[in-house]
């Protein structure tokens, strides 16, 4: 029996944990000598290198240490999604490791060894960690296990086939022999690990499928966990920065007279497009920054406004896009393009620019010298950060080391290396390591935003069947910038994800992508990525079609999903669990959303109440999901609960706007988040499945937004076509 308790979490990105330049005594002085501070304990970490600890490293992911611990080197970064635990389970399952001896380490920057096979680069995103590593990590575990078995069999003089493994031990039942893996390391390391060791059948899983406790959370509950923002290399200084408020603007002049007079301010670093203040602590840096008098040349984007961005996007949406998918004869079914036939419906849907607002503000600590550079950060793209620091420091990559840390929220923001590049450019001018921390205001105003989208949809009903469908997505292409090889023939595969492959059976269908880059902002991935837009547009439009056809929204969907039985089953399940169809008080409604995004089959029902002033109150969320084999079921539930809240937050509040080239939002007072007092019960139901795992980090977000929109439609009859929800449109309705 394997104990259902976690191994100890141990970070590998080890830095000597020392205080900053100031001593405790100087704090006491600062605090007028009287404050009593509890909790001065900072845990010391093992600082020896991995190579020193290693006894046996049969592949990039598994290392048996001298103390018998099983170190699992996890190629995907932990940002809350529980991936350290889930991927460890894949390795430990096939290795038959003793789960209580498992230790997790961050993989270093190494694109060859730790490439994400679904991206082709070392990156964590797209809800694909378990999908991408489902086979490679189990194979690595099985291959290592085979070496232990072979080593034991040879030393016992018995056939390897007669041996079995359990809990880090090879067992030969006939002779009653047993040997711990630890004792077999010498013999095993002389063997060539097999490339095709057989994998377990689903029925033989002992770890996969069980709700194991996460390996990363114990230290997060005590404040001991180290995020990137927490590193303190010896002698570190602290910096914060202000970048040009308009993208592409330049520093013209800086008057630093008042700033340099502030105690603790050490240095002002003026670069082309940003100014940083370096000090003994963040407060000195921040105070110094506020005391600077900076004049900017706003550059070519000085006139950019949200109105300009939207008018360009709407205009672009009138032209035909590149064809991502074409089935049947859409032109004939719908008429010529913008058909006006009375049974052709059309609608436009819009989603705004959004910031990520990770709770851990952007930061990166960098030490640049003439011969080497070292950086500490929590990032979703280790190798890109590595390259960015090398470029900024003008050093070969071999002279640059990056330490990865736990991530205080990624959501796509940390798929970009821009913060590391800026920090390293600043660090070049600083003697010793410097921790560069963005204020929340700078973090929000210099995000790489979720694209704004404008979707045009047309559909033709014959009775209660959809016979023609055209969906034109207009927006920026993240892929063209982030992974240009993925952008082919004018189609961004992310931009049409869950659109071109939407689940409804429609005989005549066309999906187009229309690239239109907004001026004045850079756009990037944001939790839910392309499917956020497509699922919102499709599921909103489907509700309007169901209404026109006079059918119940679930019945209408179900009738078009006969070739997707896993989604039908999820829909049936959520119908039952959500109380669909039962009576509700006035101004309350239920809305449904189905989707096949990220390899999972999800059906969600949101129930809400719309007040007479247009305020939306969430009453209940119910989701059923078939995500294939649920590696760690509790993590899947948590990801869907949290993903729903992420989406509902965006639906209720999320919008970044620009005026005079400047982002107008800055902090949580004007870029609002849902809080605990607004959260309804959220019930997640997993459907048992033996199919390979699907992705789960993002579909909760994509599902929640249209489900809420449709709930409002049911409650009020108001068909919202744009997010976030405009309360004015709902006030006094119905």
């Amino acid at each position: 029996m394997i104990p259902e308790r976690p191994g100890t979490y141990s970070a590998s990105a080890l830095v000597p944990e020392r205080g900053s330049g100031l001593s405790r005594r100087s704090f006491v002085k600062l605090a007028t000598g009287t404050a009593f501070v509890l909790g001065f304990h900072v845990p010391l970490r093992n600082t020896s290198g991995a190579a020193d600890r290693s006894r046996y490293a049969p592949n990039a992911f598994i290392r048996i240490d001298r103390d018998g611990d099983v170190a699992l080197i996890i190629p995907q970064v932990e940002m809350g999604q529980g991936i350290y635990t889930s991927l460890s389970m894949l390795l430990a399952e096939e290795l038959d490791a003793d789960w209580s001896r498992v230790r997790v380490e961050h993989a270093p920057a190494d694109e060859k060894r730790y490439v994400n096979p679904m991206f082709g680069i070392q990156a964590t995103g797209g809800s694909n960690s378990v999908r991408a590593f489902w086979k490679p990590l189990r194979q690595a575990g099985a291959s290592t296990r085979a070496c232990f078995v072979e080593a034991a069999a040879r030393s016992w003089g018995v056939p390897a086939e007669e041996c079995r493994t359990e809990n880090g031990t090879v067992i030969h039942d006939r002779t009653g022999r047993k040997s711990a893996y630890d004792a077999l390391v010498g013999q095993a390391s002389a063997l060539e690990p097999p490339k095709d060791a057989p994998l377990k059948d689903v029925s033989a899983f002992r770890l996969i499928g069980r709700p194991l406790k996460r390996l990363d959370t114990a230290e997060k509950a005590t404040g001991k966990a180290k995020f990137g923002i927490d590193v303190l290399p010896p002698g570190v200084k602290f910096a914060t920065l202000v970048a040009s408020p308009v993208l592409g603007g330049k520093v013209v002049h800086v008057n630093d007279q008042r700033a340099t007079a502030i105690p603790g301010v050490r240095q002002i670093v003026v670069l082309d497009d940003l100014v940083a203040v370096v000090g003994d602590h963040m407060w000195a840096a921040k105070s110094g920054l506020e005391a600077l008098d900076i004049s900017w040349d706003d550059g070519p984007n000085a006139g950019v406004s949200s109105d300009l961005i939207w008018s360009r996007l709407r205009e672009a949406s009138l032209r035909e896009g590149a064809i991502a998918k074409e089935v049947g004869d859409v032109e004939r079914t719908l008429g010529s393009g913008n058909a006006s036939s009375s049974d052709v419906m059309s609608a436009t849907f819009e989603l705004p620019l959004l910031a990520h607002a990770t709770m851990e503000p952007l930061n990166c600590t960098v030490h640049v010298t003439p011969t080497f550079a070292e950086a500490w950060i929590g990032t979703q793209v280790m190798e890109r950060v590595h390259a960015a620091v090398a470029k900024a420091a003008e050093l070969p990559e071999t002279q640059v080391t990056v330490h990865n840390h736990l991530i205080g929220g990624g959501f796509g923001r940390r798929l970009e290396p821009d913060m590391a590049y800026s920090a390293a450019r600043i660090a070049r001018h600083v003697d010793g390591p410097v921790k560069v921390v963005w204020t929340r205001e700078e973090d929000i105003r210099h995000d790489i935003y979720r694209p704004a989208y404008h979707d045009r949809l047309w559909a033709r009903l014959e009775g209660d069947r959809i016979v023609g469908w055209k969906h034109r997505v207009s927006g920026s292409s993240v892929m063209a910038r982030w992974l240009p090889a993925g952008f082919q023939k004018g189609v961004d595969p992310d931009g049409v994800d869950s659109g071109a492959d939407m689940p409804y059976e429609i005989p005549n269908l066309r999906v187009e992508f229309n690239r239109e880059e907004p001026p004045g902002v850079i756009t990037g991935f944001w939790r839910g990525v392309g499917p956020n837009n497509n699922v919102f547009a499709i599921e909103s439009f489907i509700d309007e079609l169901a209404q026109k056809a006079g059918r119940d929204p679930i019945d209408f969907r179900r009738a078009h999903l006969n070739k997707t039985p896993r989604l039908q089953a999820a829909l049936d399940f959520v119908r039952e669990k959500s109380g669909w169809g039962s009576a509700l008080p006035a101004r309350c409604g239920r809305g449904v959303c189905v989707q096949t995004s990220f390899g999972s089959f999800i059906a969600t029902v949101v129930e809400c109440e719309v007040g007479t002033t247009g305020e939306v109150k969430l009453r209940r969320v119910t989701t059923s999901v078939d995500t294939g084999i649920a590696v760690n079921p509790d993590t899947i539930i948590a990801q869907l609960q949290g993903g729903h809240i992420f989406g509902l937050t965006a639906a209720l509040y999320g919008e970044i706007t620009l005026e005079k080239g400047r982002v107008q939002q800055s902090n949580f007072h004007d870029y609002r988040m849902l809080r605990i007092d607004q959260i309804p019960p959220i019930d997640i139901h997993l459907i048992k499945s033996d199919a390979p795992p699907g992705g789960i980090g993002e579909p909760g977000t994509t599902a929640a937004i249209p489900a809420l929109r449709n709930a409002i439609y049911a409650a009020t009859g108001v068909a919202l076509r744009r997010m976030p929800i405009d309360r004015k449109l709902l006030a006094g309705s119905k």
Binding site: A35, V37, M79, H281, N667, R675, I676
Partner: protein
């Protein structure tokens, strides 16, 4: 100078987090004489002889230990960045109201933002910690 930066940058007590700097998110919550305060706006010179308790030692208090245990039992934590502040607010709630109802939880915890959306489990964990505190 706000207490937050003294804790983090001077004393290397990095368990207390910086989130917004304007007392909107609660990531920097510590206890001042047992009451929850936002350290990002609390000038250190105003503290005087009052006791500051941070996440690093809240487990040494009976309610702090129960809250931390409930947080792990219920697998509240995702990225974890806001959770120091959540645990400090929840512990202060139980210190003030041993058996909080939903409205008490809303009132005490609405100042703490969690971007991962762990709120459902925070509520469950507070109720578990309260029940265990009552039982002991």
């Amino acid at each position: 100078m706000p207490l937050l930066w003294v804790l983090r940058d001077v004393l290397a007590l990095t368990g207390t987090k910086f989130g917004c700097g304007i007392a909107q998110c609660g990531a920097c919550t510590v206890h001042l004489d047992g009451k929850p305060v936002r350290s990002c706006l609390l000038p250190v010179g105003t503290i005087g002889a009052r006791a500051i308790t941070t996440i690093e030692v809240i487990g040494a208090t009976p309610n702090g230990a129960k809250v931390q245990k409930a947080w792990l039992d219920r697998e509240v934590i995702q990225c974890g960045y806001c959770q120091s502040g959540q645990i400090m607010s929840a512990t202060a709630l139980l210190d003030a109201i041993p058996n909080p109802d939903d409205a008490d939880i809303d009132a005490a915890m609405a100042g703490n933002i969690c971007r991962c959306g762990t709120y459902v489990r925070i509520r469950e964990a507070i109720k578990q910690a309260a029940a265990e505190a009552q039982a002991s």
